[in-house]
Amino acid sequence: MRIFEYMGKELFNRFGLPVPKGKVVSCADEAALAAAEIGPVVIKAQILSGKRGKSGGIRFANTPAEAKSIALELLGANIRGYLVEKLLVEEKLAVDQEFYLAVTIDEGAKSPVIIASNQGGIDIEEVPENRILKVHTDVELGMYPFIARNIVRRLGLDLGSQHGKELVKAILATYQVFQEKDAVLVEINPLVFSGEKVFAADAKVIIDPDARFRQKDIPYVEGQTETEKLAQDLGISYVELKGDIAVMANGAGIAMSTLDILLHYGGTPANFLDVVGGTDTETIARALEILLAKKPKVIFINIFGGSTRCDDVARAYAKVKKKGSGIQVPVVIRLVGTNQDEGWRILQECGIKAYTDMEEAAAKAVELAVHAPAGSSS
């Protein structure tokens, strides 16, 4: 779960990593006030996207009037698909040197990794690999100052200098945020030297959504559509796409494969929906209602029962069908696996026959979508 820059900086502050003096504002007058207090400022649109600078989301103002006019322009604007609701008005630092610093998880090495470069700035991905340090840590050993000292040394800095010492502290603080806040990414680009001090000039922090139960102080950021939010509340994985075949599958792998196959047969999926293992009738029914609300041409349910049980899926279908307006679009159900016989029996009672082969069922769904009456799609 990504959080806004200003939230990340609040975290940094709490862990002793200096950030530029700044204020979060949500109206232009506040921006002017902040600029009056701080002096020359940088005004940063708070959106969950990179490349803000290139998209005009990062601007400079020397006076409160300038700040106000920039804020008026940015607030409510749409940048890279995101509505700008808040701005971070920050002290404009005199930048002496820029670094890149991140802590994340290296899946292959199964361990945290610290990434650092003395070529910080917006185009870190363009920096040649030999200018980027990657230092893995041992989770049982944990983080130590000596690890940070080696990084600072390898970045070519004097460990005895004020900058060197500050950078050691900054690396330790960054790692601490990563560790204690269940982050999967803490990225600072750039980390800057300004005068004698080190500042995190940006903050990209992603918190492990599975650890939210123990990170209750992390603000919850909604970066999703209404439907995606609804799905998330149900504990299911949902992504909106642009096609006309609504898809439900169980398991990320089979859900992706289902989309691949629909496309293969010439269909276009309306969404990715993984009900995730182990859900019950009620959840699956609500997931089905989410799909119905999208008014697709066809709904394709592709279930291979494992921890998801076929009878639960069939019952969910039956439940939704009996409720309110029922199910008005064609539904193709492919249902095999755990408790499949019971599932089939329930579906049969509803007057629907389950497919057992997913390619066959996908082909049928595409056929139905192609021949659906015009206007039934959303």
């Binding site: 899946e107 945290p112 990794v113 991905e125 992706m256 494969s257 390619e359």
Partner: protein, 301 residues
Amino acid sequence: MHQQVVLAKGMVLMAIIVNQNTKVIVQGITGKQGSFHTRQMLAYGTKVVAGVAPGKGGITYEGVPVYDTVQAVLENHQVDATVIFIQAAIAKDAVMEALEAGIGIVVVITEHIPIHDELEFISYARRKGAILIGPNTFGIISSGKCQIGIPPNQFFIPGPVGLVSRSGTLAYEIAKKLAAAGFGQSTAVGMGGDCVKGLTFVEILKLFEADPETRAVVLIGEIGGDAEEEASVYIKEMTKSVVAYIAGKSAPPEKQMGHAGAIIRGGRGTYQGKVKALSKAGALVAEMPSEVPEIISKLLA
């Protein structure tokens, strides 16, 4: 049907990691998932010797004695493997309990475990020299011998194909298609769907390479991560054929984990990259799940 594997005199049909003699315990045996899948495992013939459920020690479930802790089980039973059906927030405690007690095979079914917890128990498993399968896996099934986890087992029949998958349902899908084509599996292993994993493709492929029952291996991957690219390096050295299927061809590029993710992966993780790496290593890549049994048919004909 496929040709029988020629066995040396006195040699029994093998499998990897688990077999008909593997003694299994279920941690979280009284929960909804744990109890349901214990019945399934017993029905499949898995030697479930005990269950663990703190506070419920002393009862029996489906004839299986239940204990309060793993240590209490070990005071009364020989145990080779454990399967974890414990809710995500406290799963680490259960995994550590099993590892600390010295259990050599730990299958973690639980999904949504915090990744920092996973890093810790994967690291501890390494230190203890234990095999950790998962987390967020369907488990492992050595066909006809032992099932540990949640796969719907009717499609797993004995045979010459080793199967390893990042996705549970895709593994079932392809196992079913293989079975329909007459090819059973020696062992099917769910690597787990989370971004860090205990056993990885390479480790599992090595076991299949050494297993006399396995004649070919099916590898089921997904976009994201670099497990398939890593696997390719080892596939080059293998004597057995590998058939791969990668899901996610049509998916939009995954939301990036900042620049850091890109730096770590160095451009790996895409469908095209994975297919290229696998093909170059000599694996046969299927475009659709239904092509997998077709390729296997040709290979093992």
